[in-house]
Each structure stands twice: as structure tokens, then as C-alpha cells.
Amino acid sequence: MGVSHASSTKSHSETEDDRPLRARIRENPGPALRWMAGMFLLFIAEAGALFQTIGRLLVAIAENLPGTPGIETATWLAWKAQTVPTLLSRETIPNQGHWNGSEWVGTFAGLEPAQAWGLRVALIYLYSCLFVLALWYGYLTYRSAYRTMDWTPRDDQLRRLRHNNWGMFGLTVVILFLIMAAFAPAMSPTTIDQNIQEPYSYEISYWNDDLGQVSTILVGDANFQSVSKGNPDQNVGIMQSDDFGRFHPFGTMNNGKDLFTIIAFGSRISLFIGVTAISLAGTIATLLALTTAYFKGLADLTVVLVSDSIQSVPSLMLLIAAGYLFSDTWVATLYDGAVLLALLFALIYWPGMWRAIRGPSFQVAQEEWVDAARSYGQRPLRLMRTHMLPYIMGYLLVYASMSFAGVIISTAGLSFIGFGINAPTPSWGRAINAGQPFVAQASWHISLIPGILITILCVGFNALGDGIRDAIDPESESHHGEGGAAGGGA
């Protein structure tokens, strides 16, 4: 019933107000300007971080392209971006300092490293909450001031999602994860360079108790003396500081590296793989679903065959085999194997997504308005986009959310056995593997924390998927996506 309404409002809007959004804003610029001013303030606070990320991305792209075109410009841009100030950065609120016998030197306002770090993380989450609220406010502004329709079925769906506690819990977990991934450099207590890449190129100062003075030590040596190896006197656990005044929110690894930094940057790579794979698979699935639903017959049969064949190969085995086969090719060097993994996941997940939206696509293809549009002479491509796509989008989101959980579990499982993401890029699965011998000892945090985080995250993605499904289709209690959630048994 919701969809039939959409078609009527569609014709409605064409007669009443068919001007583009820009014209409508020009007519009544107040609300839009107010919103943009707020967004601008939020942007200014984090402009430096944004520019630096873009700079690093450009350098990475230039480095990986054959012949490294434009590497100088990219490097210069990245270097220039360092000078743009950022509110929520380790430079503004530093947490790395040392005790000089009477006070903390180098940390923010002379706070203890733990407190300085806590303050920074709290501010990051506060900022991100403001940002999310601003986005939501922007949508509401659009709805009340610029949208021509008073009501669309989307409004009801959003309302149902907002009143669904379970779905909102999932959304919250997912947003917290996104924030962690986005702010990984600012959130981690130490830098990735110091922690993982080149611990022997950095020197830190610390209070030497034996000598009663401030001494210096290489980060690599300091790491070596703060390892977590199981027995209580060789362990830096959760929320503890090591002997060099460095605070470790999640403790240290068995090689003395900071676990939180590894988790934060590991979440980035998981997010990259998940987003790339799911959006690729989703695009393929949508294109195929629309085409097969529109043309039926042979097109449908072909896709059924191909998708059945792909699904008949156990996904984990396919991943392991492909990971081995492509280990020496240039694809595997991109982002330490993450690009290859993302492509493989896209290949493995599109059949499931296509299956999930095939039914709804067939349903919508039989509706009268599709027939009407066809007899009106509308071209297939445009017809699919305007009259069929909006209807199946929700179903796609449900399955996408649940598949995301599967991708994250499978990625961790693969790096657990040494396939997938290569060192030095951090990954959650490798951390679990490293902590395996110490699970029942003092250093249990190495294995347990990444696993617990994966579990929470997957529960979150499943809950979000449930929430969206209840929102778009309150009557249904279908079992789409149950398999996708478990990551092919990883």
C-alpha cells in the first residue's frame, strides 16, 4: 500500500512543483543556510584531519599506480595538510609525555597520560554525536522546508526504525564502530608509525626510577620491556600503564605493541573491506535483480545458474585457495591484501544478495505502474531506476547489513590462519592468533578483546538488519540473511 501511494505522490509532484532542489533552496534559503553554517563549524574543527587523510590516500594511490604518476604533487599536498590545525588530534590534546619527578611533561594540561587520552576520546565521541545529529537535523530540514511531498512511505519506515529499540541498538553499535575507524589515528594512544611500522626510529623520554632522573629509550626497546606474555609480572593489562609512563587502554600485545592502536587501525581495514565488498556485491545484485525481473526468462535462468554455482563452492575454501593463488600478484600487494579480499567477498556475496532481492523485484515488476510506464514508452533503464529500484532498496539494505557481519567474521577468520591481510597492516584476527597461548593466563586480553568486539559488532549489524526489515515490512518474519550473518562458518 505504501508503494502505491508513492506513485500517486510522484504524479502529484510533477504537476505541482517539479523544480530542482537548488531552485527551491534559492527561494527559501534560511533553513539551509543555518544548517550549512553548523556543518561548516563542525568541518573547520576537523579540517586538518580530513585533508591529511585525503593527502595520504592520494600518496597511496599514486604509489600503487604503475609509474607512480603525480607522486611529488601528492606528497607535497600530504605534507602541506600536516600544517592545517585539527581540534581533536594528538597535537592539540597530547597524551604522550613523561613524569619528570614532580609533574607530567608533554601531556595535555599536565594531566596523566590516561586522563589526557580519556579526554581526547570523550571529545571525539562528543564531536561525532554532534555530527550525526547535524546530519539528522539536515534531513529533517530538507523534509520540512524543501521536500515537495508532505509524506512519503520512507517517513513511516524511518519512524518505525526509530521506535524499534533493537534496531536502534544495532545502529548505535555500527555508528560507534564507524567513529572508531574514522578517528583511528586520533583515538589510538600512540601512532601507527611508532607502534607498528618503525618502533626503532622513535625515542621517548621516561622517568627512570633506579636513577631518579629522566632517561630516554627507543620505542622498540620500550615495547620489548612491556610485553604481555601470560605471567603476571610480565603483563600490561587493560587500562594499565607500562614502566615508561605509556598508557594502554586495552593492554599490550605479546610483543609489547599497544593493542588499542592495533584494534583501531584494524577496524579501519575491516571497514574498508566490508564497504567495498558489500557495495560492489550490492551493485551487481541490484543490476541483475532489476534486469532479471524486467526481462525474466532466459536472463533469469542464466543468473540462477551462475549464482548457484558460486554458492555451491564453500566460501571459506574459495577464499583460502584464492588467497594462496593470488599471493604473488600485484593485486595482493594493494593495501596489504585488503583489496583482493574485498574483491573476493564481492564475488562470493552477490549471489546471496541477489537471491534476497529477487522476490521483491519480481513482485514490483508485476505492478500495474510498471506496466503503465512501459506502455507509455519509458525506456527500460529509466523505468527500472525510477519505479523499481526504490522498492527493492530496503530489502537490499537488510541483507547488506547482515552480510557485513559475515564479511567481518570471515576476514578475521582468514587472518587468524595467516591468509587475507598481511603484516604489517594490523588485523583483528591476527591479534586473536597472537594471544592464543595466553587465554587462560594474565594476558587474556590479547585474544579476548578483539573477539568480544567482533561479537558485539556482528550482533549490532544483525540487529540493524532486523530493524530495517521490521521497518520496511512490518508483517514479515522472513529468514533472509541468516546464512550471511555467520560468515560461511568462520
Binding site: 563452492v313 564453500p314 575454501m317 593463488l325 587465554v439
Partner: protein
Amino acid sequence: MSRHQYLARRILLSFPVLIIAGTIAFAMVYLGPIDPVVAILGQQYTPEAAAQIRENLGMNKPLWGQYINFMTSMFTLDLGQSWVINPGQSAKNVIWSYTPRTIWLGFWAVLVPLFIGIPMGFYAGLNSNSWNDYLTSFGGIVWRAMPNFWLAVILMTILSKSDALFGFDWAAWLVPTDIVTPPDLAFLASPADALFEPASFWWTPGDDGSFVGALKQILPAALVLGSASMGNEMRIGRTAVLETINSNYIETARAKGLTRRVIVWKHVFRNAMIPLVPIITSEAYLLLGGSVLVELVFAINGIGYLFLQSIISGDLPLAGTLIFLFSVLLIVINITQDFLYTVIDPRVGYQED
């Protein structure tokens, strides 16, 4: 379309799927970026040895000849030979020698969740919206979201330290066994003992193991491998009971004065089982895929472990064979599931367009 036609169409369609799956396996071994001969020889690479293997693998033939060779050997279940894992042995023998432990694992991984997940789901459905229901449902959701390999690591460690942690020694309990070990299934070789020498078959762990011992050895791994299925079965069992309990014929049964016990056992449970049957078969997909990681953590040398070893040691032909075999298994399971569907729910096939 009648349901028989529907089933016939499904079976017919599975043949091209089989061929494509075989082609995927072929492409992996012979068309991938890694030369199988180089992978097989590894450090011991010499041109002479390479030429020898190339000859044996039939790689001197043109590509379509290799393809036809590969496909015939797959479809006649000849399967070729193992090169690195057990040099010179036929792949069939190698796979057979690893299979029993995986079947033993898979059997219990299906059975254990059945006896835990379904009762819990039914219980939650009968007491819906109580605290126990919330607790069970939430537990099921979390249990399902936990990565298998992680759960395996945690469970394994807890069990091996159970004496120090809880004062209960799992390793010594009932029958002394190791924790990280393949199950000893030699006792199955003489099934007659089950009747004539029950002590040695069921209980006493001699040289050939015993039923209880092998069950105890496989139980943690089966529990982990079945964890996702358990969550699913619980959830669907709960929904099924809720749907049945609110249906009209239950109302009628209540109205004519049947006791709650009769209603629950005779009417609710039997009907709630229907949606669960196909779910159980579809879990096989997860079991097959997941066996690789779980077998690795618990050191069970089954098929999943064999696959991983064949990849790591470069035995590509064996790996390709295994992938094809697993695909065949999955296709067979899918058809079985469709068959069960048509038996249980006569509406299937009519809804398809």
C-alpha cells in the same frame, strides 16, 4: 508448476551448476597465477622433476584436453593423485583416510544443536516475553554472532585449564582424553563389539578408543561448529511455536477442553517442527565451510584440515579435487532440502513464478 515438476527442474538445473563448479576448480588449479608444478615441487624444483610431473598431470596437452581430462576424472570420481601430502597415493585414498573424523564431527555438530537449540527455542516461545525468553533469545543471538574460530580458541583453553579455573578436570572426567586431539575412531572398525564386548566398544579407552571417549573428544569442536546453527534453530523454533500457538486450531483445541500438555506436545510441537526441517539441512553449508578453522584449532585431522594443508604445502590438484567434492556435497544437500520442502509443504513450487 506442480511440485514434482519443480523438483525435476531443480535436479535438472543442478547439472550445469555441477559443471560450472568443476570449471571453477579447474580454473583454480590450472589457470591460476601459480603454476601447480612449481607449487608441488617448492624447494626441490628441478627442470627434470618438473617435466616428469607436467607429463603425469597431462599438462603437455592443449588446454581443452586438460579440461576434459580434469572433468572426466572428477565426474568418474577417479580424482587423480596426491602430490605433496601423501606422494604417489591416489587422492581418493588420502581423502577417505581423512573423512571419518569429519563425518564424526559433522554428525555431532548437527545433533548437538538440535538437542540444545530446538528445546531452548520452544521453551522461549512457550514463555514468550518473559525474562527467561529475553535471556534465551539474547543468548542465542550473541552465541550466533561469535566467530567460530575465536570461540574454539576460548573453549579449548578453558577446557585445558578447567582444573585450575573451576576445580573440575575435563581431561580426566569420565574417560581420560586429551583436549587438542583427533578423535580415536578405530573402535568403529568392529561394530559387532557394540553387542558382544560392550565395555570395550562403548566405554574402555583401549588402543582403539571408545564411543564415549571419541564423543568427549569431539564434543567441544562440535559445539563450536554447531553454534551458528544452534542460534538459528533457537530463533526459528521460537517463532514457529509462537505462530502455531496463536493459530485457530490451537484455540479450538483449547476450547474443547484439551489439557495444556496435550496441546503443547501433540499440536504445537509437531507443527512447529515443520519450518525447522529444511533449516537443519541448510546448516550443512556452514558445517562444511567452518570445518577448516575448527579442525585446525582442535587439531582434528579431517577434511577441512586436509584442505588447509594441501593449500599450504602447494598440493593444488588435491585442493581442487576437495573443492569440487565439497561443491557436489552442497548441491546434493540443496536438492535434499528442496525434496524435503516439497514433502513437508505442498505449497512449494506454486509460489514460484
